[in-house]
Amino acid sequence: MNPSPKVSVLLFLAWVCLLFYAGITLFTSGFLLTRLELTNYSSCQEPPGPGFLPWGSSGKPGACWMASRFSRVVWILIDALRFDFARPQRSHGPGEPPVSLPFLGKLGSLQRLLETRPHHSRLYRSQVDPPTTTMQRLKALTTGSLPTFIDAGSNFASHAILEDNLIKQLNSAGRRIVFMGDDTWRDLFPGAFSKAFFFSSFNVRDLHTVDSGILEHLYPTVDSGEWDVLIAHFLGVDHCGHKHGPHHPEMAKKLSQMDQVIQGLVARLENDTLLVVAGDHGMTVNGDHGGDSELEVSAALFLYSPTPLFARAPPEEPEVIPQISLVPTLALLLGLPIPFGNIGEVVAEVFSGGKDSQPDGSVLAQASALHLNAQQVSRFLHAYSAATQDLQVTELHRLQNLFSKASANYQRLLQSAPGAEAALQTVITELQQFLRGARAVCIESWARFSLVRMAGGAAILAAACFLCLLAPQWAAPPASPPRPLLLPPAAWALAGATLCAGLSAATGLKLDLVVLGAVAAAGSLLPFLWKAWGSWRSRKALATLLPIPGPVLLLLLLRLATFFSDSFVVAEARATPFLLGSLVLLLVVQLHWEGQLLAPKLLTVPRLGSSTSTGPPRHSGACALRLGVGLLLCTRLAGLFHRCPEETPACHSSPWLSPLASMVGGPAKNLWYGACVGALVALLVAVRLWLRHYGNLRSPEPPVLFVRWGLPLMALGTAAYWALVSGADEAPPRLRALVAGASVVLPRAVVGLAAAGLVLLLWKPVTVLVKAGTGTPRTRTVLTPFSGPPTSQADLEYVVPQIYRHMQEEFRGRLERTTAQGPLTVAAYQLGSVYSAAMVTVLTLLAFPLLLLHVERISLVFLLLFLQGFLLLHLLAAGVPITTPGPFAVPWQAVSAWVLMATQTFYSTGHQPVFPAIHWHAAFVGFPEGHGSATWLPAVLVGANTFASHLLFAVGCPLLLLWPFLCESQGLRKRRQPAGSEAEARVGPEEEEEPLMEMRLRDAPHHFNAALLQLGLKYLFVLGVQILACALAASILRRHLMVWKVFAPKFIFEAIGFIVSSVGLLLGIALVMRVDGAVSSWFKRLVLAQQR
């Protein structure tokens, strides 16, 4: 048999996968902004660069880079305080109509302070960097950096800020911080506050709980004086925006309340205290935030000091400053080092020292503050560009030159005589230029959604899905094998890639690999789109464009629609079993509807007697019903192992997801351990029984030997490992070393065994028993029509059924002689299940190491998983008619159900598509001491844990094609011996025609290949539309409140799940092809042996 059709099927599938990957990568590069988190810290002892400190800070105790101007700060953070909420109401001209909106002019105390004490107070319009979500803003307001969604290197398990930040600096300077308000701060700065009153920020409909809670504690705390820094984070304004929007009378009330707070605080401030009133972001007209519209990114910032702080009166129109400017400003005013990763620029005018100071001195102070700031930013840029390459090199060089020039000028001016005010002003301008340039460079690479890339990625994904839908029809076997489908895309891809590379070389841009890949993918898609366009133009088959049957299409669409709602994404763990159950019931009902569930005589009405019989049912009705109910039961049981997402407070996670080691001794622990080992044994026994049922356990081939002896050994190792791990603390001290050693060795041994088993299986996948004494004269007569070694495809196609028939004859002949020799005569059965036997063995071999990565009690879920898969396959097989010469096809409902089940198992193994829910402990299985510096191995372990169900189901996907053929034999037997038990039915000798089972597939290799291709494309389609829906949801809802909490993590998990699934799918199909090849060569050898 010519192997090239198989290879081209695999290549075609791999190409489709690559298209999806290109789309995902392009989308991700536009959507997910990445930044490396450095863990360097600034410290007092270590100034950011050489330089004379003009305020003589080194002399003063407690002072750091700069002497502190204030010893205490009250920081009022009003969530979503948009700039115009705080803006003073100007007196209107006679012609202008007075504007009266609920949110305008309600903060009257700010206006009064600005008017009466212009040198003490200042209002700024602070320019916020997107994403404008509270947690990201808090990170920015304390680190002075631009937090992106994925801060690489951060600890995904918690939200705690690891970067250098203001709170950390305050703590290390020994200041007492009192916090009250939003409990997000607790996650961000665990244990950082000397006193804290946290209130839940969860319920956005509740306007008053947080604010009232703060007000209860605010004034007593201020009066007690036991604080250096007081932070109060009010949420009422934000929640009012979410609930009512800004144009609601409630907003006026809320703002007036805030105004009273400020008024009350101003009255209590002492002279050494600075008051900061800041909004973390704005809100849109509807009161939402998260995106980058003008209203969202403009927040108010107000500074007030009881002593004069500013040299000049405030300008008419408040100045616009970046929000993160607050960080270096506050740090220097409090006499702290600027956090290491800060890229903000100090607000120079607060260092001017009040209205009565020397003009010369004030300029010098401003210059020195800016210089310190610039030194710190320059140090950060150095450190960052040394760690990663995502900043533009040329721009960095330019900035570096700018900085060294300004710095040199500054040093020179310090040495020279005072009075060079103009020269100092130029230095200040240069330093500011440098700081702004640096910030621009960082923003360029960290903080912009690239809509073009997002749209391009989504378009490629959509086109790839479309291709998956159409390609099976073009690749149908009578028309053309898939090989011609492969060449034009490859050529086009090359052309596209060269064009792109040439263009970028010509324009001198840096070649972006992501864009290159995307252009290549788009190029290779072109011929297909052209072809689709052509067939659409000719109106050939619009009906065949949507080959998915109605109910399944509806279910798929419903599932896709749920990706666009955060509530449904959060509830997916419950929604998926529901949809799966619906699909199962639909299958059962459909069987009944088509009259296959019950015997026809029940259904016939006397009047319509002849028309109802649609052929004999292949399953008795009770059987299909039982399968359906069993499936529902399994799904429900698996749902017991459910982990709650953070967003639903009423939900309780299953207690069974914790490791056994965390249980406090006693019989319960032992019982659970027993149950887990029982699940292992049951899994093992089930697989062995299955193999035995189809006779594959009798073959002397090495894989079968491995199944017989290696699998129990693996189970034993797993059980022993669990025993050690769950009871490690109770081990006597003498055995500690032994236990530690064993808990390293055992998991590795199990993985090694599994790998060995896989290698054995790949080496000899044919598990068929051939007895030596087959050369009876009778068989020769069967084979006489064929002579000579098989030379061509046609020969083989002729000879294979011949051999098969010969084996049947053989089988029958032996049975005639003696029925007691059962084991010798089951060769035909083994051949009939040769593909699925290999698949099931591989799945079991894969399941054991994956099981080891989960906590013990998940083994029950794995048992349920295999059971569910088995039941579903049987149920699906009941509805698929076998068309003997082909074409074979896997129905859409089968593929959808399979994908749904993979998702359901993802949830029932205790996972959730959010980062804090990842099972990090998986990284330490077999490596209890950690991994040192290697990162890929723990990543692989954690990934295997997280995407175990995706992998297993994708590898097992070809079973969907194979199973109906397996069930064929059962159907026949069931009809003939309705009361016979399984074991007896296995050797049913009186059958006239033997079921061919999977050999039917071999009889029609073209159809077999086409069916595999079709199956792969269908599976990729169902997965692909999911990832497409996730991408669309993430891009359409990129301003949604929950985008970083729900949609973006969902997209990432879905994307990685897709990659794992597609690789698994390719492996599964490749395995089937490997078995196919091995069966072919086995037949060849048999033929040669016969001829000798």
Binding site: N203, L558, S565, S567, F568, V570, A571, R574, A575, P577, F578, G581, S582, V589, H592, W593, E594, G595, L598, L602, L603, V605, R607, L608, S611, T612, T614, V629, L632, L633, T635, R636, G639, E647, T648, A650
Partner: protein
């Protein structure tokens, strides 16, 4: 014959809908603090009661199934008892199915069971009225070519759309976080009531096409 059948059908369905509306309005005269949302359990009782009684009355009045020949009292009693047992069995099996679909096992068991009862009254009771306590006949109606009369046709559609409505009613559940009606089966019932309404709306064309 067919014309009169269609007319009777139409009236029957209007009566059913009327009974549902009545079940909302009537108890409020007798009971204090009655509303669908707060005392949903009472409403479920009354709704189920009304629909069942209307169905029974309709059956007794119109007698669509004229095949029963024997009419002795004992026969009627056994028939009635059989129907009752069938109804109970269907309630319990619906309950089991809901639990399998994800309803909590212990908490809200009463709600789940009442929902099973009301779904039974919408589906099983008409079936029993029309076809009698014969499982085979009921299974036949719900297969591809099993329908013999317009009554059965209407039964088929009403029942299937009731199931679909109940199924659709599950979809708002995730949306109602922190809302008390999340814990009621109100969503289901809403779907249940809407589906016959929709059906009646489409009925005219349907029957016309069929005749």
């Amino acid at each position: 014959m067919k014309e009169t059948d269609v007319k009777t059908l139409l009236y029957a369905h209007f009566l059913c809908i009327f009974s549902v509306i009545l079940s909302v309005l009537l108890p409020s005269f007798f009971l204090e603090y009655f509303s669908i949302l707060d005392t949903h359990l009472t409403w479920l009782y009354s709704c189920s009661l009304f629909v069942t009684s209307i169905n029974l009355v309709l059956y007794l009045v119109s007698k669509p199934n004229t095949s029963s020949k024997t009419s002795s009292l004992s026969h009627k009693v056994t028939r009635f008892l059989k129907c009752y047992i069938y109804f109970l069995v269907s309630c319990f099996s619906f309950h089991v199915i809901f639990v399998l679909y994800g309803a909590p096992l212990v908490e809200l068991a009463l709600e789940t069971f009442l929902f099973a009862v009301i779904l039974s009254t919408f589906t099983t009771v008409p079936c029993l009225c029309l076809l009698g306590p014969i499982l085979k006949a009921q299974l036949r109606v719900f297969s591809k070519n099993g329908v013999t009369s317009i009554w059965e046709n209407s039964l088929q559609i009403t029942t299937i759309s009731s199931f679909v409505g109940a199924w659709l009613g599950a979809f708002p559940i995730p949306l109602g976080w922190e809302r008390p009606w999340r814990y009621t089966t109100f969503g289901y019932v809403a779907g249940l009531v809407i589906s016959p309404l929709w059906l009646d709306w489409n009925r005219k064309q349907f029957t016309n096409k069929n005749n």
